[in-house]
């Protein structure tokens, strides 16, 4: 049987050995482009996601906004964030941004995850959760700079956008991409998306008077496989808390791959130490002990 698989793995959470998919097969880097300047907040992507993934419906309540819910849920991976941004002239700019897993090149969730193989990154860049290996510790939740993974309290496992890895693995585009009515969502290779995004940003600067238009593809996490075109790239925070410089707490990497094993070994050495003590020095008994057979320095009995 060939090693050929639709999606090969290049990174795996908390996995100590070599990763099975590295270097065995060529692959393109896939990428989702979200042009917030042509997003109409219609939520087709939200529905397409729930429908494709057959996720159960949940209750929502009116919260003085068009936004479906405050943040993504374990069964709602894709959420348009609506923000009314006041302009200087008193008018309002109504911003809509599709919020979902960014499929970071350097995923914080994967860095934080202690469970072997629960989070993987395929060679095409998709970051996927394998719930079978997930232990529900939610470290990924804190490791994610975008507040994306969410725990299902029923199964006690964490879920998030898969970038429709099942569809992409079969050569299809993700469900949200396909549905998007205005084409503000696009899907292709990272290079192509980057090119289209930069062209669009330039068009916005040159022809639509948006001097600050730009592309969001944060370097601080090695870039993402979901990139945005923003009206104002200098202030991504206004789009419902898109971090300007997303970071992964260093402690995850250092702790997990350096101190964890070292200190673990240290604890084991504690066990080893007492064993050696017993073997070399021997137990301390209540005194007086019975005298040795042959003086004080012998071998017991």
């Amino acid at each position: 049987m060939s090693d050929r698989k639709t999606l090969q793995i290049q990174r795996m959470s908390a996995h100590p050995g070599p990763i099975p998919g590295t270097g065995v097969q060529r692959d393109v880097q896939v990428c989702k482009l979200v042009d917030t300047t042509t997003c109409i907040g219609c939520k087709a992507c939200e529905v397409a996601c729930v429908e494709w993934n057959d996720m159960p419906f949940g209750a929502t309540t009116f919260d003085n906004t068009y936004q479906t819910m405050p943040e993504t849920r374990w069964n709602f991976w894709n959420l348009i964030k609506f923000n009314e941004h006041p302009r200087e002239d008193g008018t309002v700019q109504w911003l809509m941004r599709k919020d979902q897993c960014m499929h970071c090149a350097d995923p914080g969730c994967l860095a934080a995850c202690p469970a072997d193989g629960a989070i993987v990154q395929y060679t095409n860049g998709i970051v996927d959760f394998n719930q079978e290996n997930c232990i529900g510790c939610e470290y990924c939740v804190s490791g994610c700079p975008f507040n994306i993974p969410k725990l299902n309290p029923g199964t006690k496992k964490v879920y998030k956008c898969t970038l429709c890895s099942d569809r992409v693995g079969e050569g299809l585009e993700p469900a949200c991409i396909k549905a998007c009515p205005t084409g503000c969502l696009k899907f292709g290779t990272k290079d192509d998306m980057k090119f289209i995004a930069e062209e669009r940003a330039k068009q916005l600067r040159d022809n639509f008077g948006m001097e600050k238009a730009g592309v969001y593809d944060p370097e601080s996490i090695g870039g993402t496989h979901v990139i945005y075109v923003l009206h104002d790239a200098t202030d991504p925070e206004r789009y419902g808390g898109l971090p300007k410089n997303p970071t992964i707490p260093w402690s995850y990497t250092v702790w997990k791959w350096l101190f964890k094993p070292v200190l673990g070994a240290f604890a084991l050495f504690g066990g080893l130490g007492v064993l050696l003590h017993y073997v070399t020095v021997g137990p301390r008994r209540p005194q007086p002990e019975p005298p040795n057979k042959e003086g004080t320095n012998g071998n017991g009995d």
């Binding site: 232990i135 529900g136 507040n147 209540p286």
Partner: protein, 259 residues
């Protein structure tokens, strides 16, 4: 404050004493009352539950095999905080129970100076001013106290998660929680060793609650003096002479008695 705690502990001890028994045979001393023993084993139980469920979270690739005991990784993860809470709860009671005997004294400083001799086995007897607990025990006790505080705070932060406390705090807590566990784990190895094969005769202190007089004058001479009124050194010398005499008369008998 202290008196309130004492009153509380005293009541608890009396109550537990009426539920269980501590039999002290001739030649033995009452070491730990039922209440103390109960708390100890509760702490031990939940500590190990927390420890083993925690292993599955700490390094799943290595300790995944622990998790089926708890019904799989996610359930282990879900139970772990509860184990921790109970462990800390019982240890908290133990702490109140032991607050006084665990206070640091000049004798403990003295004990620490002799540490090398004690560990190497050269000093057969502990320093004569070693009381109910020696400095090593006290150190471990206070390490556990600190550890429990760290566990509790970081554990709650981890439990509530990044959405309540922010990911930075969670990330820091994650490290502290693990460090605390590692340190405590190291201590537990020593504790178990010393309370079992490392110092024979100790284990019964936490089971039956009584220890032999030789154990007492060997490891906690000051306590021996306190409860018997006798001088530990004298008692030891007397016993040694008796033993030697017995060996010359009947070598096979001496073994039984020393136990």
């Amino acid at each position: 404050m202290a008196t309130a705690i004492e009153r509380f502990d005293e009541r608890a001890r009396r109550r537990f004493e009426s539920l269980g028994r501590t039999v002290v045979y001739v030649g033995e001393l009452r070491r730990h009352p039922v209440y103390t023993r109960f708390l100890h084993w509760m702490v031990a139980l939940f500590f190990f539950l927390a420890l083993f469920s925690g292993f599955g979270i700490y390094l799943p690739w290595l300790f995944r095999w622990f998790t089926p005991i708890f019904g799989g990784g996610p359930l282990a993860r879900a139970l772990h905080p509860w184990f921790g809470i109970f462990c800390v709860f019982f240890f908290g009671l133990q702490m109140l129970n032991w607050l006084k005997p665990m206070m640091w004294t000049p004798a403990d400083t003295n004990w620490m100076r002799n540490l090398r001799g004690i560990v190497s086995g050269k000093e057969k007897l502990e320093p004569p001013d070693t009381g109910f607990f020696n400095a090593g025990q006290k150190l471990q006790f206070w390490e556990i106290v600190i550890g429990c505080v760290v566990f509790l705070i970081t554990g709650i932060i981890l439990w509530a998660g990044a959405r309540t406390f922010g990911s930075t705090l969670v990330a820091i807590s994650y490290v502290l929680h693990d460090v605390s566990a590692i340190v405590m784990l190291g201590g537990i190895f020593v504790h178990i060793y010393l309370s079992t094969i490392g110092e024979p005769g100790t284990f019964q202190a936490m089971t039956r609650g009584a220890v032999s007089e030789p154990w007492a004058w060997t490891f906690h001479p000051a306590w021996y003096r306190e409860v018997t009124g006798r001088d530990p050194r004298e008692s030891y010398e007397k016993a040694r002479e008796e033993t030697e005499r017995a060996v010359t008369q009947n070598p096979s008998e001496s073994k039984l008695r020393s136990k």
